[in-house]
């Protein structure tokens, strides 16, 4: 379980996050929802140790973040994180070299599924293709947790469908997925738990199924109430 407890982040004299707490369980898809600038991406960066915490604690299966946990938790940022001059085959080699949790067979399957060419250079990929390869780098790790930052941002309809298909496949079974989005649309039926952020704080956190069965509200209905849209 990823436990985020009372985290604070101050950046350039401003409280980006203030006393944020939530949990993301293994086998569930947790969605961090918020308008632009709500601090969603910052939370993911804090979990991955890519920016220092101002206060609070983050624990992964009861442990504080340390380098060996990067085998257990994979992060897919909103952009590719491999040098532009690298070929896709070199990027796959890099991942295989550095991660014991890298699953080469799965990487090959995903390369075929997303119709990616091994010889293509990262700098020459279109936005949609780059997003698919970015996801592949996260999906092909045998990690317990997967963090995704805006996985559908700027991607065409067909690419979105292909990516959504992966979410419903057995690839995601038993994994804990934490993703951020400001467009819940096509993801709504996949989300188990929603955490709504507003002004750097958690406004509401709920299990979507319970919300639907007990109050008859969809995630979008709750979002309308919270964000007043």
């Amino acid at each position: 379980m990823i436990e985020v407890t009372g985290i604070r982040k101050r950046y350039r004299g401003r409280d980006v996050l203030n006393d944020v707490s939530f949990t993301a369980e293994k086998g569930e898809l947790t969605c961090l929802i918020g308008v632009n600038g709500a601090g969603k991406s910052t939370i993911l960066k804090l979990i991955m140790g890519l920016t220092p915490l101002t206060g609070g604690t983050i624990r992964i299966d009861g442990q504080a973040l340390e380098p060996k946990l990067y085998e257990k938790i994979a992060f897919v940022p909103d952009h590719l994180t491999m040098p532009s001059g690298m070929r896709l085959s070199e990027a796959l080699r890099f991942m295989a070299d550095f991660y014991e949790s890298w699953n080469e067979k799965r990487a090959d399957e995903l390369m075929r599924f997303f119709q990616l060419e091994h010889s293509a250079r990262i700098g020459s990929l279109s936005k949609g293709i780059a997003a698919k390869f970015n996801l592949l780098l996260g999906f092909a790790q045998d990690s317990d947790y997967l963090l995704l930052d805006e996985p559908f941002s700027g991607i065409d309809l067909f690419s979105r469908e292909a990516i959504t298909e992966v979410f419903t496949s057995d690839l995601m079974e038993h994994r804990g997925v934490l993703l951020t989005t400001h467009e819940i649309g096509e993801m709504e039926h996949l989300v188990d738990k929603a955490v709504l952020l507003k002004g750097g704080k958690v406004s509401l956190s709920f299990h979507c199924e319970e919300m639907r069965s007990e109050k008859g509200k969809s995630v979008i209905d709750v979002m309308r109430e919270v964000y007043g849209a």
Binding site: K45, M48, G49, L50, T51, P52, P67, K68, L69, Y70, E71, F75, P77, H79, L80, T81, M82, P83, S84, F94, D97, F98, Y99, E100, I122, G123
Partner: protein, 277 residues
Amino acid sequence: MNRYLKLVHMEIYRFRIVLLVLMGITALCQMSALIWMLKKALSDLRGEHPEAGAYFSPIPLRISFEWAMFNTQMWFIIPVLLCISVLSLYVFFIWYRDWIGRNAFIYRLLMLPTARRNIYLAKITALLLFVLSIVSFQLALLPVLELVIRLVVPAELRADSHIIDIISSNQALVELIPRQFEQFFYMYGAGAVIVAAVFTAILLERSYRRLGILYGLLYLSGCGLVVASPILLFGTNESVIYLYPTEIYLMLLLLFLLVASASVWLGMRLIAKKITV
């Protein structure tokens, strides 16, 4: 292979083309200057172009490698300066290239399942290896240049030279390859300390951004003050300094070690705890 060595390999692989180009330019400059100078000297010796002698020191009856080296100083200095400039710029670029562009590689590097100090150590090791490989290449080039002389200058007009005299006759090589290992160690050691201090300044900037620029500059000034403190305290007039030269030398060595340790410790701490992407 452990992840530190893999990171060193990756850093070398990323710079390989620039390194090969630098070596190519060095070989091309030195070889073509040598051939051009030898041709001129030979034609002068044969009385074909008497004015050619104006370019060099008086041409001896028998041309030696040592004489040839002395007369091609500039064409050895230019590639050496070029290599130093490129490597000096790369001290900064080796970090910033991971942040710039659409695909910031630093995300991936910081998320590797290995201690972050390995990223720091791999970058400094790679830079040291680049410097040493360029120096080694320059040394390896000398026998090739000697072969060029053998091919261009007929045996009756050629004199043999000793490697030490060859290096001593060229100012660029004297600076690049000191005669004593101790000097070599101090010179390249001081270079490594400067690189470590600059790395720390860069990491201060990457951790604290705008304010980090100020911290970085202050840190570098502090390091400069620390290593210059014996000169600032005692001046340079040896007759009025009440310490023995060996004591001053020991003091300097300790101060350099202090700056090196502080820089490496702080750099590793910043990359592990404070860095922000």
